[in-house]
Symmetry: C2
Subunit: 276 residues, 2 copies
């Protein structure tokens, strides 16, 4: 595995490389990222992993400075998963001029976007840059960040970016908690509460299977997420991947939740296809 910091060198290495699978991350890799890398390894000649804690997707009161980092461990995981090139740019490399940003016009006023203004502008800005740098055949994103994935798919379609976006399933701990770099922040008590999120989503799935109306399911899910010392950021259902309100025409419902613990904000979701 080669670790590369600059764009020119990466491009030289990738010239004529055959099919390229790309996994963009902010590092502090866990089994969720590893599953993306495994799939990229199976489907492409070359695998590129990027690690870049993108400052423009953090709000002024968010956790950029304390975002967890472990470069050595990340490299070991990348090596073990058969990554060919680890792209490790600096802020100056990714934002040489920072003269323009991608600004989202629709789909960022719900779910995480509602409480994180500008977050998805930052995500799409950096993803569009990274896709131009790597020019992959396929790029892999997890359904954990379902809104991010939907917006990236929409951006790629809207801007004719020549890449195939691959949707990858949420990877969970044995007790159901969705893997996240932010899980390390949780106290022991919080870590014991956190699997309740997935349990609430499983109950929601059963209720939807039984034909319970979406609004009722959302109310029940809100009740189920009343953990001591936490607050609910949102419990919402939207059409997927349009992120518009659920209507009778909706085939796939994204039921997404965010719970604010004292030490971390956790998200999880259920992608529910009606009649499937």
């Amino acid at each position: 595995m080669k670790i590369i910091q600059d764009v020119q060198t990466l491009r030289e290495r990738l010239a004529g490389a055959g099919s390229i699978g790309f996994v963009p991350t902010m590092g502090f890799l866990h089994e969720g990222h590893a599953s993306l890398l495994k799939q990229a390894r199976q489907e492409n000649d070359v695998v590129v992993l990027s690690i870049f804690v993108n400052p423009t997707q953090f709000g002024p009161n968010e956790d950029l400075d304390r975002y967890p980092r472990d470069a050595e461990r990340d490299q070991k995981i990348a090596e073990a998963e058969g990554v060919d090139y680890l792209f490790y740019p600096t802020n100056e490399t990714m934002y040489p001029l920072d003269m323009a940003r991608v600004t989202v016009r629709s789909g960022d006023d719900v779910l995480c976007g509602a409480s994180r203004p500008g977050h998805f502008d930052g995500v799409l800005t950096v993803v569009s840059k990274l896709l131009n740098v790597v020019r992959p055949t396929r790029a892999y994103f997890g359904l954990k960040d379902a809104q991010q994935l939907a917006l990236i798919e929409a951006y790629v379609a809207d801007y004719f970016v020549p890449v195939e976006i691959v949707r990858c399933p949420i990877i969970r701990e044995a007790d159901g908690l969705a893997k996240s770099s932010r899980n390390v922040y949780l106290s022991e008590t919080e870590r014991a509460q956190a699997p309740g999120i997935q349990q609430a989503l499983q109950q929601a799935k059963q209720a939807l299977d039984q034909g319970v109306p979406v609004e009722t399911v959302l109310d029940r899910t809100r009740e189920a997420l009343q953990f001591e010392g936490t607050t609910i950021d949102y419990v919402e259902a939207v059409d997927y991947p349009s992120l518009r309100p659920v209507t009778e025409q909706t085939t796939t419902i994204l039921l997404a939740v965010a719970v604010q613990f004292a030490s971390a904000r956790l998200i999880d979701n259920l992608l529910y296809t009606r009649g499937a």
Copy 2:
């Protein structure tokens, strides 16, 4: 020459095409565009011309609806200049979702940008889309729209777009008036006044050659541009291509002017390299 309206067909035609020269325009072609096409023809295996009157770069009070169009004449010119593919998309083709825009953060608060808020956001949005559609080896832009060219060059650098941007000189009428699709709007009297713009710029060049300070040159140029019935939109000097204020370190000065005639707003400029 093939006329193509959809992205998929264009991409199929361009697959494995060798070097691609691309000239994006809003149509109503004149000798300025023809000069871009000639250069593209000389330097590339395949030449693509796009004609698309981009709605997002027009302000609410601007001339989108009455922007001049002449598809038949444009096709003849394109054919004569050896264009291989004329890409003629609809609004729906270029904005399938319109879910995100490119937003300029610096360099759009001077010159044309100051009086046309959002104009360069629209320009960069459509140019970034067109570059993704065509994926050219080289794209050709005229120095007539010097601010546009500088911002496109900055965008391409900032976003790692794999294309060479080629700067092409301003093409003028015999009497010095810069060629523009908007010149057709001019009344006879205005058409007689309009070459005064280039004369004022030539006087500015001589003054700069003689070491006259930039501020004095700007004042003199403002005086020289007092045509009856017109108003000066701006007369400004900025560093090129940064578009920042001129300092002692500035090598190349962009002295740019915009004059509002009753029937059209005309722009012109002088790119002045100190000591050259």
